[in-house]
């Protein structure tokens, strides 16, 4: 029987799960409850007497769970530390969400922008789409130009 504690942050809330397990059988301890489980088959688990299909994909601390037809995203917190992913949100970095071509830039450095205002018009997969301001602020730097081919995640603009 092994025992381990997993810490998650889910929609801003911290959740700790303790897993006691031996050969696919065991007990989950969470929020004061104890729930028995059995791994019945690959991707098929019985929790508290009821079977569920599930799929899990991990990428670093981020975890995607498919469960009963819906996909959820969880972020794991390492013991004693804050997760890296949690600190990214609502930054002023405008990055390319996917590879493509910059068609147009609708603001200039120094402009004041409102939340959700379109900043960069991209073309990907033969369709135009807008990158919008994640928050209100001022454009401090523009790192791309029309016609440029950019990679996913490439920094295109900064807002403060």
């Amino acid at each position: 029987m092994t025992s381990r504690e997993i810490h998650w942050t889910i929609a801003g809330q911290d959740v700790t799960v303790r897993v006691e397990e031996s050969k696919g059988h065991g007990t989950f301890h969470v929020a004061g409850r104890s729930l028995p489980f059995r791994l019945l088959q690959p991707n098929w688990i019985e929790i508290d007497g009821k079977p569920h299909r599930f799929y899990v994909r991990r990428s670093g601390n981020e975890c995607t769970v498919w469960f009963n037809g819906q996909t959820y995203h969880l972020v794991r917190i390492e013991k004693g530390g804050l997760t890296k992913a949690a600190s990214i949100t609502a930054s002023g970095k405008i990055t390319a969400l996917m590879p493509g071509k910059v068609l147009r830039i609708d603001v200039r450095a120094g402009d004041t922008v409102e939340e959700k205002q379109p900043l960069v018009i991209m073309e990907s997969m033969k369709m135009e789409s807008a990158l919008r301001a994640p928050k209100a602020g001022r454009v401090t730097a523009i790192r791309c130009e029309p016609g440029q081919i950019v990679e996913m995640g490439e920094l295109l603009m900064l807002i403060e």
Binding site: V19, P42, Y55, G69, M98, L103, M125
Partner: protein, 474 residues
Amino acid sequence: MIRKVLIANRGEIAIRISLTLREMGIQTAAVFTEPDEHSPHLRAADEIQRIHSYLDSQEIVRTAKECSADAIHPGYGFLSESPTLAAACEQAGVIFIGPESDTLRTMGDKLESKGVMQKAGIPTVPSWHGSPPAAEYPVLVKAVGGGGGKGMRLVETAANLADAMASASREAASAFGDERVFLEKYIRQPRHIEFQILGDSHGNYIHVFERECSIQRRHQKIIEETPSTALTPDLRARMGAAAVAAAKAVSYRGAGTVEFILDPAGDFYFLEMNTRIQVEHPVTEMTTGLDFIREQVRIAEGGKLSYRQSDLHQIGHSIECRIYAEVPEEEFRPATGTVETFEPPAGPGIRLDSGVAQGSVVSYHFDPILAKLIVSAPSREAAIERMKRALRDFVLLGVRNNIEFLYRVISTEDFAAGKLDTGFLDRHPQVFSTSETIPIEAILAASLSITPHPADSSRATFPGVWTSGSWRNS
């Protein structure tokens, strides 16, 4: 007799075409460009040919000649409605599985085709080349050469006209190589109703009933069904007769689709004609038993239609959902990635036309359609229930997609009631909301997957649990 066909396409439609051709005893050659080197559509064919572009008519015809194909099937999109490819085929003595190049030229020009239909007595939507009278707003900007919502913009007031036309023109140039756009009256709460037609080279024309394609995003269909809840037997007969008249007006050869706009008053207008196999053809196949690829080949060989109008019946109800690599909650932006888990639903009345498989890489080079999930059932109510079950059972991880969004759309009361029009999504903002709380069991399942050390004993016992390997739910 056609003995070998080069399929000038990729993805799910290339696979679907190849399957029927192989069943007919016809050899198939698939083509691919560099990003498609490992695509599933290649495995469906008897031989594979590398090309530089899916859009180069000359290269396609040359490749067909080189590998001794006697015909080319263009699928949909790419060169499927290109008069240039059809003409190049006619010159090279290769059979083009589709209409004559003249028909493609006429119907590909939205303005000319409108004129032909007006002459044939088929109602059309009012349109303009320059700025329309103020009372006619809102208007639609549309590409002369295009389809599929590309190069299309809704303009509410005259002030936004210039910008919209410029943007549409740019998109049209990039997508179709033709920057011309025009303006059309915008019908409020329109339904998109189209009729499947077939014509042979002996002057026979039939329609194979309607498809309702009113659920659209970015002016592109995402859910299609047949029959339509909007059509009475009388209206179906009148629209079907108009569709057949449209086919006759251009001596149409092959499988095609006549698209109509139906307004809330029950008046319908010719919208355009799609001169190719349609993305949503499976819903018609599932309710009529036809195989449109088989019909296309027979017609291209010079054969007569296998059916008279009175031979055709529809049974049950069929719905198609297009599975796209996109994020509906973020303005439907396209998504890329690797398909890490692919466990499609199965069961009676379910058909999956997929262009991807486990391990497929979805890149930004092509249209973001991944697969089409089609269900048929005895009634519309049962078909909706079946589609909901199928979407809930569909596991596709690694590439963000619209499966859960489609589930929310099809679960609305208005969809169940058949209250559809092309503005459906705008009127139902709740389908964009993913606010549901995560079930505790999902957190627990995720926790179990956190392996404390690589030599974990349960890993050996259940090898598939972490990777969703080869186990499949039948």
